[in-house]
C-alpha cells in the first residue's frame, strides 16, 4: 500500500527527515514512536501534503503511484487520511457542511453518486456512534470551542465518514485522559479492516495498550532506528530512547522491513 524510500524532507531550512524507509501493507497497523523532534509529525505532514514541507530526496509510492506528486485534496480523494495532532478550528463553517462537502468530493472522485442531505445525515448519525460524539457537536462550527478530547474524537469521526485506505494518526492520544483515550482507541479499532492500513504516530506507549500495532518503529534523527513487534513498545517504555542513540542506526533487525 505504502512504500517510503530514502525520504529526506525539510521544514524551512531544517532537514528533519534524513533517509526514512518504511513499508506498510494493507491491513497492517504500524506504530511510530520516538523522542520530540525526531521527525514523527513531519512524516505525517509530508504524507498528507502540507505546504511548507519540502521533500529533497527519496520517494513515496502509494498503491504504486507517486504520492508526492498529488495535491493534498487528491491524496484525500485517493484514500489518504491524516488525523491531526492539532485539529484546526474554523469559525463560521459548520461541521455538517464541511463533512458533506468532503464526503461528496471523495465520492465524486470514486465515481459514486453524491449523498443528499437525508442520506448524509443518516450516515453521520451512524458513524457518530463510533466515537460517541454528541450530535450537537456535529452541527457546530468545525472544532470551534471543542475540548481537546472532542477535537480528537471529531478527527476519528471524520475518518469513519471518509473511510480512507491509509490513515495516519498523528499523536491522536496526546492530551487525552484515559476515558477519552478508550473512546478514541475504540473508534480506531472498529475501523481496522483487512483492506485498511494505519500509521499511528505516538509519543506515549500507553496508546498501544488500546490500539495494538503489528509493528513498532522508533524514529531517531529523521530515520527509523529500530523496528520490532508490539512487545518493543513495552521495552521502550521501560528503558526510554537513550539506549538507542548509542547504536548505529542502520543495523537493527527488521528496520524498513
Amino acid at each position: 500500500m505504502l512504500e517510503i524510500q530514502n525520504l529526506h524532507a525539510k521544514v524551512g531550512d531544517n532537514e528533519i527527515l534524513r533517509g526514512l524507509d518504511l513499508t506498510v501493507r494493507a491491513g497492517e497497523v504500524h506504530a511510530i514512536m520516538g523522542p520530540n523532534g525526531s521527525g514523527k509529525s513531519t512524516l505525517a505532514h509530508v504524507l498528507a501534503g502540507r505546504p511548507g514541507y519540502t521533500v529533497t530526496q527519496g520517494q513515496v509510492l502509494y498503491r504504486g503511484r507517486d504520492l508526492l506528486a498529488l495535491s493534498p485534496e487528491e491524496r484525500a480523494r485517493e484514500g489518504v487520511f491524516l488525523a491531526f495532532q492539532y485539529p484546526v478550528e474554523i469559525a463560521g463553517v459548520s461541521n455538517v457542511y464541511f463533512l458533506k462537502a468532503a464526503v461528496n468530493a471523495i465520492r465524486k472522485h470514486r465515481g459514486e453518486p453524491e449523498l443528499d442531505a437525508v442520506d448524509f445525515l443518516a450516515l453521520a448519525k451512524e458513524k457518530a456512534k463510533f466515537v460517541e460524539i454528541d450530535e450537537d457537536l456535529v452541527r457546530r462550527s468545525v472544532n470551534e470551542g471543542f475540548s481537546g478530547g472532542e477535537k480528537k474524537r471529531n478527527e476519528i469521526f471524520q475518518m469513519a465518514m471518509l473511510e480512507p485506505a491509509l490513515a495516519v494518526l498523528d499523536e491522536t492520544d496526546s492530551g487525552l485522559d484515559i476515558d477519552a483515550l478508550r473512546v478514541v482507541a475504540g473508534g480506531v479499532n472498529r475501523l481496522r479492516t483487512p483492506e485498511r492500513a494505519m500509521i499511528v504516530v505516538t509519543h506515549y506507549q500507553r496508546l498501544l495498550n488500546y490500539i495494538v500495532p503489528d509493528f513498532v518503529h522508533v524514529l531517531l534523527d529523521g530515520r527509523i532506528a529500530v523496528s520490532g513487534g508490539k512487545e518493543m513498545a513495552f521495552e521502550l517504555e521501560e528503558k526510554g530512547y537513550s539506549w538507542l542513540e548509542k547504536e548505529p542506526a542502520s543495523t537493527p533487525a527488521g528496520a524498513g522491513r
Binding site: 498528507a48 501534503g49 502540507r50 505546504p51 511548507g52 495535491s71 493534498p72 485534496e73 491524496r75 484525500a76 480523494r77 487520511f81 491524516l82 491531526f84 485539529p87 484546526v88 474554523i90 469559525a91 463560521g92 463553517v93 459548520s94 461541521n95 457542511y97 464541511f98 463533512l99 462537502a101 468532503a102 468530493a105 471523495i106 472522485h109 452541527r139 457546530r140 462550527s141 468545525v142 470551534e144 471524520q158 471518509l162
Partner: protein, 446 residues
C-alpha cells in the same frame, strides 16, 4: 482656470438655477439652510490630497469627471429593477429615480399603520413640522459632499414613525440611478424620524447600471426619539463604474436604540461617513458593515460615534473582503466626552486580503475624556489561514472551494445579522456568485 475651480463654477451655476426654481415653492428656513450649505462648499471646496479625512481615498477620478445633473424622468430598465431586488419586501416601498420619487414605481399606499412614507417635496408641504426640526441639521457641517446634497437635493424620501408605532414590515427606500452616456450626478436624500417609543426597520438600497459613469451623493438623516428603536440597513450595489459618496447621521434620544448595517458590494468608489451622537442617557448603538471588493474597487467607511452622555453603549464591527487590486479604508472614531461616565464602547475592524495587490488602511481610534468607562478597540488584517486551508484540503475539498468556504465563513458573521430575509438573500446570492465552488454556501455556516 484649474479643473477644480471650473467644477466649482459649474456647481455654482446649478445652485443658482436651482435656487431660482424653488424660490416660490420652498419654505424660507430650507432656502436659508441650502444657501448656508452652498456657501460652506464654496468656502471649503473639494478635498485635496492633503485632506486628512480623504488621505487614503483616491477621489481624483471623481473630481476629474464632469457630471451633468441626472434626468429624474430617465427610463428605468427592467434589468435595473430586477437587480435592485425589490421583490420580497412587503412593507411600504419608495422608489426614487435619480433622486426623485417615482409614484409609478413606488408602493406607498396600503395598510401600514403607524408609518408614513412620502417624498421630500410632498413632506415639505404636508408635514413641515416633522421635517423642519431635522432636515439638514443632523448632518450638520460634516463635509462638502453633504453640504452639496443639502444645497441641491430637490426631492428625497421621508419616513415618519408615529410615537409608539411598532412596524412589522421594514420600509424599503430604493435609490436607482438610471441613464447612459454622459456622466451624471444625482442626490439621494432620506430623512427618518422614529417617534417616541416606536420600533421599525428601514432598508435603503442603492443600485445603478454597469458601464455608465455616474455619481450618487447620498445623505440619510435619522432621528431616534426617546425609547424608540430604529434598525437601518444599507445595501450599496451601484454599477461597476459608479461613484457613491454617502453620509449617515443619527441622533439618539434617551434610551434610544439604533443600528446600521451597511453592505457595500458595488461601485468603483464608495465612501460612507457615519456620524452617531447620543443626546440622552442609556442609548445603544450598533454599527455593522461588510464590504466585498474586487478589481480596482475602493470602499471607504469613516465612522464617528459621539458618546456625549453617560450610560450609553456602542458596538461596531466592520469587515472587509478584498480581492484583485481593490482598496479598503476603515476609519472609526469613538469619542467619549468628559462626564460621559459608564460609557461602554467596543469597536473592531477585520479585513481579509485575498490577493497580493489588495490593500487596506484601518484606523480605529478612541478619544476618551471620561474616567469611568469600558472601551475596547482593535483591528486585524490578514489572509486566509493556511492551516485552515490545508485542513479542508486534507479532507478532499478542492483548493478553490476551500478558499470560497473560508471567505464566506469570514463574511457570514455580518450576513447573518441581516434579519430581513430578502436582503440577506440578495447578499448571499452576490457572495455565492463571486465565490467558486459547487456548494450552497448559505448552508455552510454554523
Amino acid at each position: 482656470m484649474t479643473p477644480v475651480a471650473e467644477e466649482r463654477d459649474a456647481y455654482r451655476t446649478s445652485f443658482e438655477r436651482f435656487a431660482a426654481s424653488t424660490v416660490s415653492t420652498e419654505p424660507a428656513w430650507l432656502r436659508e439652510r441650502r444657501t448656508a450649505a452652498f456657501a460652506r462648499f464654496v468656502e471649503k471646496g473639494f478635498p485635496g490630497p492633503r485632506d486628512e479625512a480623504w488621505r487614503h481615498t483616491p477621489i481624483a477620478p471623481l473630481l476629474r469627471t464632469r457630471f451633468e445633473a441626472a434626468d429624474p424622468s430617465a427610463r428605468v430598465s427592467a434589468a435595473l429593477l430586477t437587480g435592485a431586488g425589490l421583490d420580497g419586501f412587503r412593507g411600504p416601498q419608495a422608489v426614487l429615480v435619480n433622486g426623485r420619487l417615482s409614484a409609478e414605481l413606488s408602493r406607498l399606499e396600503g395598510e401600514h399603520p403607524g408609518v408614513e412614507v412620502l417624498g421630500l417635496r410632498e413632506a415639505l408641504q404636508a408635514r413641515p413640522a416633522s421635517v423642519e426640526p431635522h432636515l439638514g441639521r443632523l448632518v450638520g457641517e460634516a463635509g462638502v459632499f453633504s453640504d452639496l446634497n443639502t444645497a441641491l437635493a430637490g426631492d428625497g424620501a421621508v419616513v415618519l414613525l408615529a410615537p409608539g408605532a411598532i412596524l412589522a414590515e421594514p420600509v424599503h427606500v430604493v435609490h436607482l440611478s438610471a441613464g447612459e452616456g454622459t456622466p451624471s450626478l444625482a442626490y439621494a436624500r432620506t430623512l427618518v424620524v422614529a417617534g417616541r417609543g416606536s420600533e421599525g426597520r428601514v432598508v435603503e438600497t442603492f443600485a445603478g447600471p454597469d458601464g455608465w459613469t455616474y455619481l450618487v451623493n447620498a445623505v440619510t438623516e435619522v432621528v431616534v426619539e426617546d425609547n424608540a428603536r430604529l434598525d437601518h440597513y444599507k445595501l450599496q450595489r451601484e454599477g461597476a463604474a459608479g461613484f457613491h459618496v454617502g453620509a449617515l447621521a443619527a441622533r439618539l434620544g434617551r434610551d434610544a436604540r439604533f443600528s446600521d448595517h451597511s453592505i457595500a458590494l458595488g461601485a468603483l468608489l464608495s465612501r460612507t461617513d457615519i456620524d452617531v451622537s447620543f443626546e440622552g442617557e442609556g442609548g445603544e448603538c450598533g454599527l455593522y458593515g461588510l464590504f466585498v471588493l474586487d478589481r480596482r474597487q475602493v470602499s471607504d467607511t469613516h465612522s464617528r460615534i459621539d458618546h456625549a452622555r453617560p450610560h450609553c453603549t456602542s458596538r461596531e464591527l466592520y469587515k472587509g473582503v478584498l480581492d484583485g487590486a481593490s482598496r479598503g479604508v476603515f476609519n472609526g472614531l469613538v469619542v467619549v466626552r468628559a462626564g460621559a461616565q459608564k460609557t461602554d464602547a467596543w469597536q473592531m475592524n477585520k479585513n481579509l486580503l485575498l490577493s497580493r495587490e489588495a490593500l487596506v488602511h484601518s484606523t480605529p481610534q478612541l478619544e476618551i475624556l471620561a474616567d469611568d468607562v469600558k472601551c475596547k478597540h482593535g483591528s486585524t488584517t490578514g489572509q486566509l489561514d493556511p492551516a485552515a486551508l490545508f485542513y479542508l484540503r486534507s479532507r478532499g475539498i478542492g483548493e478553490a472551494e476551500a478558499r470560497s468556504l473560508l471567505t464566506y465563513a469570514f463574511a457570514s458573521e455580518l450576513v447573518e445579522r441581516l434579519e430581513i430575509e430578502p436582503l440577506r438573500r440578495a447578499v448571499t446570492r452576490h457572495l455565492q456568485a463571486h465565490l467558486p465552488g459547487p456548494g450552497e454556501l448559505s448552508e455552510a455556516t454554523a
